[in-house]
Amino acid sequence: MKRRKGLAIIAAVATILTVAGCSSSGTTTQSSGSDTANLTFWSWVPGIDKAVDLWNKENPKIRVKLEMTPTGSSGTYAKMYSALKAGKGAPDLAQVEYQELPGFILENGLVDLGPLGMDAQKSKFVDWQLSQSTFNNKVYAVPQASGPMGLYYRADIFDKLGLKPPTTWDEYAADAKTIHDANPSQYISTFPPGNSAWFTSLAWQAGAKWFGLKGDTWSVNIASPETVKVAAYWDKLREAGLIATVPDFANGWYSDLQKGNIVAWPSAQWGGSIISGNAPDTSGKWKVAPMPQWSTAGKFTSANWGGSSVAVLKGTSNAQAAAKFALWLNTNPDSINLLIAGGYGWPATKSALAGSDLDKPDPFLGGQNANKAIFKASDAAINTNWAWIPTTAATYSHLNDGFAAAVAGNGTFVDAVKAAQKATVADMKAKGLKVKAG
């Protein structure tokens, strides 16, 4: 009996070691000369199905199957990473936001698109979006859209209180006080403790540069003076009770938008479709103003929030066809118009505004043509040397945790920023990367 038990244990251990030793690395095999290529595309951009349908109609030899997924940070990136690690189950094409691209590069998950048609079409894309898709001088994704920021505000409520939309952050704070004093259940906006990507954009606007790469050493400087300035500003508003601290993109916040308890939102150009989709009865009452500035002197600065690209994942059986589709999706004018109709954001191709469906008055904004009046200038005022690191998702987590603690009364937003700096450096080191702080 004892020997049997021993043999059984040895067999089990052997099985475990064999299974553990089998790590498969995805290899790209190009199948040329097959009749129809079948590609899978994972995305969550609303309205993208119309563009895919158009492609399938015009290109019967390359069929693209779109699978709508939850947004990347809600679990779809996790699915992509798991599929890449497992070596199968990954789609041919994937929607990847800019901040997540370095993470995929670290996991060796993307195909170099240069020789697959990107080199020829590089010049069509806005420079900074192309540079956020470029690693080691190779382009790994097709830029799709970005999110130049502006201030959405309830024009009717501002008019009633005799307020003009704030042009500086000081005016914003003063307006916050006026609004909340007039009606204690109204707040100018919310500071979402779980959406540090939004905070990152505000730090970006203030001139911070969190991440850089020199040679093979990364630099991390999250607790820079500009970032601390932004965090301290929102700390003051929070401590005075002049802003809400509810999570955005959640039912409670949508309800506040519907009822007029939240009256403004510093947001990206795609924010309009979020408001109109979730508070349709407030149509006609909103307008967009330029982002509040930190100083009245100097250049007008704006920032970018969100934005994504389409990438081809390693392990695809037909990278050539996939790249062809990805390039078409994001450069073809018909495709772009369909994507605009879905509210996907600000196109990544140069001079995409004029003559497109973006260049129209919007009834939701009371007839304002915000894209022409506000977002075009905003897009031109984005600091374009911002870069991301391979562990951006973890940095966002640290910031979220710190902000949540501050909202609960433990510490401040400034503390959260400083803690995130420390934790991010540790994250990068733990991944085996060279990093220096500051």
């Binding site: 060796n108 601290t245 085996g432």
Partner: protein
């Protein structure tokens, strides 16, 4: 003689075999792999790893990293606190409900038994979503009604979120635990009640002298299950996270391991955290069983 033995052996293999095979492949192998992963790490070179990554054995580094992470240690403390508060409430409630159903003067027993058990039939995620709506200000009738009485209820704030989660867990599982205890109650010999009636015992004495001592094994069982389940708390914080600013990415150890694995791609760290949690759950379960066993034999 030999053939009977072989026949018995074949019968045993045939009946137990499928279970053992599934057990090994769905439990033993993944646990073994997780243990293996917890002792290794990935080494990279260059700015982006550049494909030069290798898996190296690093001993207890991942465990040290997990245990020196203040957020993870805080999450362990949090679930222990949660267990200390929630387990007694759950067990007491389940026992009280079971005793009420078993009382001689009980009416509509079958109806109430179904009603108490019904929440267990609601899938965990659906239950959390349901209660999430009831907790969200602006959407919850409870909060609206209490506002008219001047009471400002905040279910999702940092001071109350743990209680809100406990509420969901108790609502879901009290009925299930109650049924386990009811089953044990039904197996008590009716002669004992007759004898008690003859001796002039009132219903309170029947409960404390006969029923409670005899359902002790069922209470022990449900307590062990509840401890194990509570320490693994995961679904409720995960679903409530978008609604509450108080739930962080490492609110419970399980949630922390999940985020480390699937948001940060730190599979090795996640494996170490899972092993630590499993060891703690084992320690508490076996510790509790030993404590109860020693008391009963003394």
């Amino acid at each position: 003689m030999k053939s009977t033995r072989t026949r018995t052996r074949i019968a045993v293999l045939g009946l137990l075999g499928p279970f053992v095979v599934l057990f090994i492949f769905t439990l033993v192998v993944p646990i073994g792999y997780a243990l293996f992963q917890s002792f290794t790490a990935t080494q990279r070179s260059g700015a982006y790893g550049n494909g030069d990554s290798s898996t190296v054995f690093v001993g207890f580094t991942n465990y040290v990293r997990a245990l020196t992470d203040p957020a993870f240690v805080a999450s362990l403390g949090r679930v222990l606190l949660f267990a200390v508060v929630q387990v007694p409430i759950m067990i007491v409630l389940a026992t009280v409900l079971a005793l009420m159903l078993d009382a001689a003067s009980a009416r509509g027993v079958r109806f109430f038994r179904s009603v108490y058990f019904l929440p267990y039939g609601v899938p965990g995620v659906v239950a959390s979503l349901l209660w999430g709506f009831l907790y969200t200000p602006g959407l919850s009738p409870i909060i609206d009604i209490s506002k008219t009485f001047g009471v400002q209820l905040d279910f999702l704030g940092s001071g109350s979120i743990l209680f809100s989660i406990a509420n969901i867990v108790i609502w879901q599982y009290a009925g299930y635990n109650m049924l386990v205890i009811v089953a044990q109650l039904k197996s008590i010999d009716a002669d004992l009640f007759e004898a008690a009636a003859i001796d002039g015992a009132n219903s309170w004495q029947v409960i404390t002298r006969i029923k409670l001592p005899l359902i002790a094994p069922a209470i022990v069982l449900t307590t062990v299950f509840t401890i194990i389940g509570t320490l693994q708390l995961f679904g409720e914080p995960l679903v409530l996270r978008p609604l509450s600013s108080a739930i962080t990415s490492s609110y419970t150890p399980n949630l922390s391991a999940y985020n480390q694995a699937f948001t940060n791609n730190n599979y090795n760290l996640a494996a170490a955290e899972s092993v630590i949690l499993a060891l703690i759950a084992c320690a508490f379960s076996f510790g509790f069983l030993k404590l109860v066993g020693r008391r009963r034999s003394s």
